[in-house]
Amino acid sequence: MWPAKDPEEPERMTELVQRRPERFFADRFNVTPSVMERLLGSALKGRVDDADIYLEYRVNEELVLEEGTVKKASRHVSQGAGVRAQAGTRTGYAHTDDISLTNLEEAARQARAIADRASASGVLAVPSRRSHDLYTLAESPTLADLTRKLKLLRLVDAEARAADPRVRQVIASVSSEEVVMLIATASGFAIGDVRPLTRLNVTVIAEDGAKREIGAHGGGGRVALDYFEEQERWRRFAREAARQATLKLSAVDAPAGTTTVVLGPGWPGILLHEAIGHGLEGDFNRKGTSAFAGRLGQKVASELVTVVDDGTLPNRRGSLNVDDEGTPTGRTVLIEHGILRGYMQDRLNSRLMGMTPTGNGRRESYAHPPMPRMTNTFMLAGEEPPEDIIRSVKSGLYAVAFGGGQVDITSGKFVFSASEAYLIEDGRVGAPVKGATLIGNGPDALTRVSRVGHDLELDEGIGTCGKDGQSVPVGVGLPTIRIDGMTVGGTQV
């Protein structure tokens, strides 16, 4: 489904692939990659295994429509620098929102105070892959004309209200962001990136007598505002939110207990994110605190299951040209035909585990040290028509839309909450049921996958993942799958 990558070629890493971030920080703060490298060299040489300086400038803009008009608009600017020094398993991190040479020197002094003895194995990985060009846009979404955004929101509002007379409230927002980053590392390469991100969100409250329900839909990615106008995506988002809210007005109580579950394509891929994704991040495996630690090469899923994490999909919300440590992103096979094949790594954990960085070192902002995180995580398509999968179930639950999920990485227990689900009765989709949480055990859940559809879809671009208090945008994807035996947390005993 995805175009094959060019053969990987090393390149001169002192050269910036993107010229713009370099000029941006030089013009604005008088900080150039050579200044950064000098700072890293003089302050940190011989005392650390790895070190880097990360500069970031971020603009966010959000317009919110409620009660038919846009009454809320906001724009935020953040800038700052993070300096990191590492020795062995130790990390010193200092950040400041005042980017000046004096502050960077002070931050470097604070960061290195902790990392004062390099270990013997201080061989640093220099990225061997080329960085990508996945989201160069004609116009940054933060610079798009405000009147266009206002018009988009008004269209969404009218569409959602027209969809059903029971629609009582529509809250729609368009948020856009641009991040300019530049990183210089002690191993002598500097690289920058400009990252657009935009999202259109629609929430609908529907009422019928005393009953009231909520529906939400949205999407976006590293795309320009045009994206929502193309194929009239805005219209689909508005209708979906209204449909979900009105559908739930007639939902019955969800069953409680263990049953067969069919997950629809796309966003239900949050299952993978929670059930196995976090458990396959390098840090928990290096520390031995993941339920998957030490299980490389072992069978952890049914042989129908192949799962990858791919940060290189053009314009996707979870994609990056380079991660936040300067490593170009890649496509990492996590599970191949049921066998655990790989972890997602940042520089620290790959160095300590003797593995290769996979381009998964991410951070929320300059104010946070990077750690292994997912990008776009999805299961590859199988061969079955989705209708056949539903038809194969005598009695169960068909879940097509979800809210959030969470995992206890150590015990492996995870949950994710359905926001649109139906009973399956005798192979047919039946009555809609109220939202229910599904709970499972990571190392066990995917062994119960008995059918995989040919209908892989990625989500619309709404995911945000939280770990240790840091939020980053991510994507997920899934074909229709059948899981034999999952606990559904309904109220109908």
Partner: protein, 448 residues
């Protein structure tokens, strides 16, 4: 820490007026933050930080917009004002928009004892040592504590200033300190992690590192050997930490923005019974030295003590001035600032204690679940429908027996609060939201 430069704030408001804003207010936050994590006895991460942010809200008549920046240089501040006023020109008129009446703003700030300047003066080594001692206590507790996600010390020293175009300027400072540990217990291939912490505005009020570490270890150990149970409808007892999460959901539904958007299960319920008579919920922002206390809210209105639920009856919503006007009510002084403008937040939110001991509540249950952990986001704030992942301990014959995991607890928040038939006497304000142990007559526990 030097005094906050409120001149910057005043200058920004003046510029907004020059640019045509009819009114404006601004919030300035400046903080220093330090954290150290130790894992298996060695330092893992040490973070030093200094942050500042100025957020501005401007009104052009009845239209408004917000902007913020972490760059306080004159050029950047000019840009913020220009951007905010430009945004305000495209937003629609809103008859309910506007600042609170100047006469309503706080006059004299209460003495809340929120700062401990001396408490921050420990050296990084001493701070690291506190984390190390916390983790060590957990690791030494039992041979089945086999691993660790580390222990952390953190402190934050912050100053806040608020100013309005009507001439109000006030500021205050806060300190906060926290110490926590996340040990991992292992036995027969089973691995369980848990957590315990202490947080305070005075460093001297932090719990002893050894007691935090030991509690964390005990919590991890008691989860070993957890199993699923059969799906059943039984009494459910929430421990204080997890009972507090029910209060957070209640507060979310009582907040002005959720109400005027009709996205709340408490809509039109003011003055009516929403919980059993044993439930009284208070939000008190004036408790000296407490983590949720503040001298004024995000719009300069004096902090208060608000009775949210009195013996089961919903007595107040949580409102800022805007949501108050929308609902035809007055602000309850619960405005909070976030980047996007003004929102609503609680201060110190508590469910007041009842007469029973937690042991008595447990003893009253023949067959049921004692919940010690909840995961997931399965709470529908519009309907109150509730379904979350849980772990805990099974109660049999009035006694805690074996650990339970991989189950869900489900119900509806309105029905759950109505079914509270036991409130214990163990309220401790450990955090901004706190509850005693709570017993709910019946919920569905889903498992096998």
């Amino acid at each position: 820490m030097r005094d906050l430069d409120t001149d910057v704030l005043v200058a920004v408001l003046r510029r907004a007026a020059a640019r045509g804003a009819t009114a404006a207010d601004g919030f300035l936050v400046e903080d220093r933050h330090f954290s150290a994590t130790v894992r298996l006895g060695d330092v893992e991460t040490v973070t030093h930080a200094r942050d500042q942010r100025l957020s501005l809200r401007v009104f052009a008549g009845r239209a408004s917009a917000a902007a913020s920046t972490s760059d306080l240089s004159p050029a950047s501040l000019e840009r913020v004002v220009d951007e905010a006023t430009a945004l305000a020109r495209v937003t629609a008129e809103d008859p309910h928009a506007g600042l609170p009446e100047p006469g309503d703003l706080v006059d004299r700030l209460p003495e809340l004892d929120l700062e401990d300047a001396g408490g921050h003066e420990l050296s990084p080594e001493e701070k690291i040592d506190l984390a190390r001692r916390t983790e060590a206590a957990a690791l030494e507790m039992d041979p089945r504590i086999t691993n660790s996600e580390g222990a952390e010390f953190s402190d934050r020293h912050a100053r806040y200033a608020y100013a309005t175009s009507s001439g109000f300027v006030k500021s205050y400072a806060t300190s906060s300190f926290s110490l926590s540990a996340s040990p991992v217990a292992g036995q027969n291939g089973d691995m369980q992690r848990d957590y315990w912490y202490s947080a305070a505005r005075k460093r001297s009020r932090l719990d002893d590192p050894a007691s935090i570490g030991k509690t964390a270890a005990r919590r991890a150990l008691r989860r070993l050997g957890g199993r699923k149970v059969k799906t059943v409808e039984v009494p459910v007892i929430f421990d204080p930490e997890n009972a507090a999460s029910l209060l957070r959901s209640l507060a979310g539904a009582a907040s002005g923005p959720a109400l005027y958007r009709r996205a709340s299960f408490l809509l039109d319920r003011l003055g009516s019974r929403i919980a059993s008579a044993g439930v009284t919920v208070v939000d008190d922002g004036l408790l000296p030295g407490a983590l949720g206390s503040r001298p004024f809210d995000g719009e300069g209105l004096a902090t208060r003590r608000t009775v949210l639920v009195n013996e089961g009856v919903l007595e107040s919503y949580l409102l800022d001035s805007y949501s108050g006007r929308k609902l035809g009510m007055r602000s309850t002084h619960h405005a909070a600032r976030d980047g996007a403008g003004v929102t609503v937040s609680t201060t110190n939110l508590m469910l007041l204690p009842g007469p029973a001991s937690p042991e008595e509540l447990i003893a009253s249950v023949e067959d049921g679940l004692y919940v010690t952990e909840l995961i997931g986001f399965g709470v529908n704030g519009v309907t109150g429908d509730y379904s979350r992942g849980a772990a805990g301990i099974w109660i049999e014959g009035g006694k805690l027996t074996y650990p339970v995991e991989e189950v869900t607890v489900a119900g509806n928040l309105l029905e759950m609060f109505a079914a509270v038939d036991g409130v214990a006497n163990d309220l401790v304000l450990r955090d901004r939201t706190a509850s005693p142990t709570l017993k709910i007559r019946r919920m569905v526990v889903a498992g096998n």
